[in-house]
């Protein structure tokens, strides 16, 4: 069972899950209430067929796994907003990349400074 970001905009008290096909609505309710202690008012679920995809340059068709999509309505006044997991990661990665870039630029500058007076000599000569 995994929680997924809703494909279309949902009311704030609805959370979307993907579960195995075998689970019924009662199963999902018990699962959430007993294992995760989440109060559930209502559950609506449907079986989704896996996507059919044609493999590039091979021509045959591959089918993805079927799954059950469940829309869970939280009881009471509960609300849940799906957190933004990945945006910070891309920022972090960008800053890391910039750091690397500046580092390599600096090291190249150092290398050039070191070899100022060694014209017509290989780069390892000054090391």
């Amino acid at each position: 069972m995994k929680m997924v970001r809703p494909q279309y905009k949902q009311p704030p008290n609805i959370v979307q899950f993907i579960t195995s096909i075998q689970m019924t609505d009662h199963d999902i309710k018990n699962y959430l209430e007993k294992i995760y202690k989440i109060p559930v008012a209502h559950i609506r679920s449907e079986i989704v067929e896996g996507e059919l995809k044609r493999v590039q340059r091979k021509g045959y068709v591959v089918k993805g796994d079927d799954f059950r999509r469940a829309f869970v309505t939280l009881a009471g006044d509960e609300k849940f907003e799906f957190p933004d997991v990945t945006s910070k990661k891309s920022e972090q990665e960008e800053s890391d990349y910039k750091k690397l870039q500046t580092q390599s630029e600096e090291s190249y500058k150092k290398y050039k400074d070191r070899n100022k007076n060694h014209s017509n000599l290989p780069g390892w000569f000054s090391v």
Binding site: V4, T19, K34, I35, K37, I38, D77, F80
Partner: protein
């Protein structure tokens, strides 16, 4: 799949510890009870519980999350049933968390850090279930003389290949269960299957023969290069080959200058 396993584990451990686990839920008693759907409750608590589907926030930006290895069977065998029961739910929650995170990263076209965590958790759960099954078997054998496992048998499928069929209970007796007779896919009785099987067996035979010839030529080369080799070691390593026969072969003659 996960759900079926859960049910199985609960059923077995319930036999051992029926009293202590019946009223209190899976985890330690300091967690809050479920608020009834009519009464109000702390919204922060529910959000917190829902956030168990996500990794801790410090791991969101990391490119690699360092974790230990999976649980081994030897380690699980020395744990009590209660501990195993708790550990199962810890692992189940961890698996759900990892699946959620993997899905979300995939949706956002980002790389999921340390995907091997899922395999580790799955291996731990597999080992745990095996240990529980061992205990269940021992208990059943002691009490009833039977293993208590789900019965099954080896049958042929429609292609004529053998597989393990797991039997299950039916409400309607077999003789009058038309649906079962219609859906059962055992046995094969046509020319195409025979043709397929002959080709299939030929393929297996050729693979085996190739492997045997490869070994044979390897041993011949060894005998050629090292004529004073320990023959007993060779015989031990290649029990399916006739080493004495190979030694007599002209191909195993060493590179010696003829005198």
């Amino acid at each position: 799949m996960a759900f079926n396993l859960t049910k199985y584990a609960v059923g077995i451990i319930g036999k051992f510890k029926s009293t202590s686990l019946a009223n209190s839920y899976i985890f330690s008693p300091n967690t809050q009870n479920i608020p009834s759907s009519s009464g109000k409750c702390f919204s922060s608590q529910v959000t917190k519980n829902l956030m168990e589907f996500f990794d801790s926030e410090e791991n969101w930006t990391k490119g690699e999350v360092k974790v230990g290895r999976s649980w081994k069977k030897e380690e699980l065998r020395i744990k009590s049933n209660e501990d195993l029961h708790k550990l199962w739910y810890v692992l189940l929650k961890e698996k759900n968390m990892l699946l959620t995170m993997e899905h979300e990263y995939k949706q956002c076209y980002e790389s999921f850090p340390s995907p091997e965590r899922i395999d580790k958790v799955k291996e731990s759960m597999f080992n745990l279930e095996d240990v529980v099954r061992e205990r269940n078997k021992a208990y059943w054998l002691l009490e009833t003389g039977q293993t208590g496992e789900r019965p099954g048998k080896v049958v042929n499928n429609q292609l004529g290949l053998r597989y393990f069929y797991k039997m299950n209970e039916h409400i309607i007796p077999k003789a009058s269960n038309n649906k079962w007779w219609k859906n059962r896919k055992f046995g094969f009785n046509n020319k195409e299957c025979d043709r397929f099987l002959s080709f299939y067996r030929e393929k297996i035979f050729l693979e085996k023969r190739k492997a045997r010839n490869r070994d044979k030529n390897h041993v011949l080369g060894l005998l050629k290069r090292f004529p004073d080799m320990d023959i007993n070691v060779l015989k031990e390593q290649y029990p399916h080959l006739n080493i004495d026969g190979l030694r007599m072969s002209r191909k195993s003659d060493p590179h010696l200058v003829p005198s």
